[in-house]
């Protein structure tokens, strides 16, 4: 099969599936509050474009802020854990506990404690996403070749020189992998927190679009919001993947 055929194959498959779906909905007269056809969903996209767009932007703002905060927190903790085994022993179990606790379970508490709604959502998304950056960066810091460490010591390098000229640059590929994972995790964390906040009366983000549509039985709009959410996840993952490749080939390429 030629390259160009391979390129269009997924779209052909998608279009065929959509056509079959639409045909099945028409022929079986399925009401749109059970399963809407693609055309109905497209219509819902158009009709609610303002609300959906605002919801998407708000969710992305939470995700972006959380990713930034997770990066700072995760890298800082990873460096501190690499520098001090006491700190590592003190922090590691708590980081793991925070990681394995479902965010739905602690989101109500965070929302009450933090008060400011946007900040509360960001904190929830950070709780879900920072561990990916922390653990990947820590693995990268530990992967510094011991021979290079010896070479640095033989030339009288200070701790800071070792950190900034050796360990952190060596950890960069690991960090970027962590960042890519954290991107989608932050999105998931943001939406889960929005669900919890929404049921508590703070309406925002794509989650609220889904909740509201379900209250009103606007199933096509619900599908539209879900599709938007999925697309946002894919785009975040793809963009961070491209960032990873570009940064590393620019840095290490011949």
């Amino acid at each position: 099969m030629s390259k160009s055929v391979e390129r269009v194959a997924p779209f052909l498959f998608g279009l065929t599936a959509l056509a079959l779906w639409q045909g099945a909905v028409w022929m079986t007269h399925t009401p749109s509050y059970v399963v809407p056809g693609p055309l109905k969903i497209l219509r819902a996209f158009y009709d609610s474009r303002t609300a959906l767009g605002a919801g998407l932007l708000s969710t992305l703002a939470v995700t972006g802020a959380a990713l930034l905060a997770s990066t700072i927190l995760g890298v800082f903790l990873a460096v501190a854990m690499a520098a001090s085994s006491f700190f590592r022993a003190a922090i590691q179990p708590w980081a793991v506990i925070l990681q394995v606790t479902p965010v739905v379970a602690i989101a109500p508490l965070i929302i009450i404690w933090v008060g400011q709604p946007f900040l509360a959502l960001v904190v929830c998304a950070v709780v879900v996403s920072f561990f990916a950056i922390l653990s990947n960066t820590a693995a990268g810091l530990a992967a510094t070749p011991p021979e290079l460490l010896d070479l640095f010591l033989l030339n009288g390098a200070t701790r800071w020189q070792i950190l900034f000229q050796l360990s952190l640059p060596y950890a960069l590929p690991f960090f970027l992998t962590g960042l890519r994972l954290a991107g989608t995790l932050a999105l998931v964390g943001a939406v889960v927190a929005e669900f919890v906040a929404g049921s508590g009366g703070f309406a925002s983000g794509l989650a609220w679009q889904i909740i509201e549509a379900s209250y009103r039985l606007q199933i096509p709009r619900m599908f539209a919001a879900l599709l938007l959410l999925g697309a946002a996840g894919i785009v975040i993952y793809a963009v961070l993947g491209v960032l990873e490749r570009v940064v590393l080939t620019r840095r290490d390429g011949a």
Binding site: L148, D150, F152, L153, L154, Q165, L166, D252, A254
Partner: protein, 246 residues
């Protein structure tokens, strides 16, 4: 003169890596540390670098105290270059760590790269270099601070035979030109016989020095085929047959 006096190294779990090593490394000599895997060659090299302390005994670098930064050049089995830095930046590294500016270091960086035959490759990153060229950069990095002692830990073991022969010849020429003191770890009898003018033969663990040879082979292209070289290989082989458990 670098000297080791009754040096022993034991590790935490009671493992005896080295026992009672006494040896001299005269200035300008090319010393080969030859022994089977696990006999403590790398450990001995790390002791000589000052990175690790002996459990007992003494090491002297010809002055009181430990080596100063840059006094020791170290070449590892893998080139261990910084993948994000080009050849010139990699060679500059030891000087940069000692806070020398690029403009004052640059002439020495270029000299070191020229010494290993890498003029014109200053801008190449490790990914764009062959295994042999990466090892050359690694040697240049060890030479750039003009160390009093050059330590090499099986630097050519991972290279193919042709590249290895070329690098051996170039290293010998470099050593004759510069008069550097070299300690070269290898587990190849042929490599030790070809390169060194002082061969320390080590026993299996715990490593001791079983014999010291001071060969004097002809200089030049005929060395690899000279009868003296082949006689030396046989002599070393015979002494290993005496010390290795059957």
């Amino acid at each position: 003169m670098f000297t080791l006096r009754h040096v022993a190294k034991h590790f935490g779990d009671g493992m005896k890596a080295l026992e009672d090593i006494t040896a001299e490394i005269p200035p300008g000599s090319f010393v080969a540390l030859l022994g089977p895997s696990g006999c403590g060659k790398s450990t001995l090299l790390r002791l000589l670098s000052g990175l690790e302390m002996p459990s007992s005994g003494e090491i002297s670098w010809g002055h009181t105290g430990k080596p100063a930064p840059g006094e020791i050049g170290y070449v590892f089995q893998d080139p261990t270059l910084l993948p994000w830095a080009n050849a010139a930046e990699n060679v500059y590294l030891p000087l940069r760590l000692r806070r020398e500016s690029w403009s004052s270091a640059m002439p020495r960086v270029h000299t070191a790269l020229a010494q290993v035959g890498l003029e014109g490759f200053e801008q190449s990153k490790p990914k764009g270099l062959s295994g042999g060229m990466r090892m050359r950069v690694s040697i240049a990095r060890a030479l750039v601070s003009e160390p009093a002692l050059l330590l090499m830990d099986e630097p050519f073991a991972a290279l193919d035979e042709f590249t290895r022969h070329k690098l051996q010849d170039d290293l010998l020429a470099l050593w004759r030109r510069t008069g550097k003191t070299v300690v070269f770890v290898t587990h190849s009898i042929y490599e030790a016989a070809y390169l060194a003018n002082r061969i320390l033969i080590m026993t299996p663990r715990p490593g001791r020095i079983a014999a010291t040879l001071t060969p004097n082979l002809p200089v030049g292209v005929e060395r690899r085929n000279s009868p003296a070289y082949h006689a030396l290989v046989s002599e070393i082989t015979a002494s290993f047959q005496r010390i290795m458990p059957a």
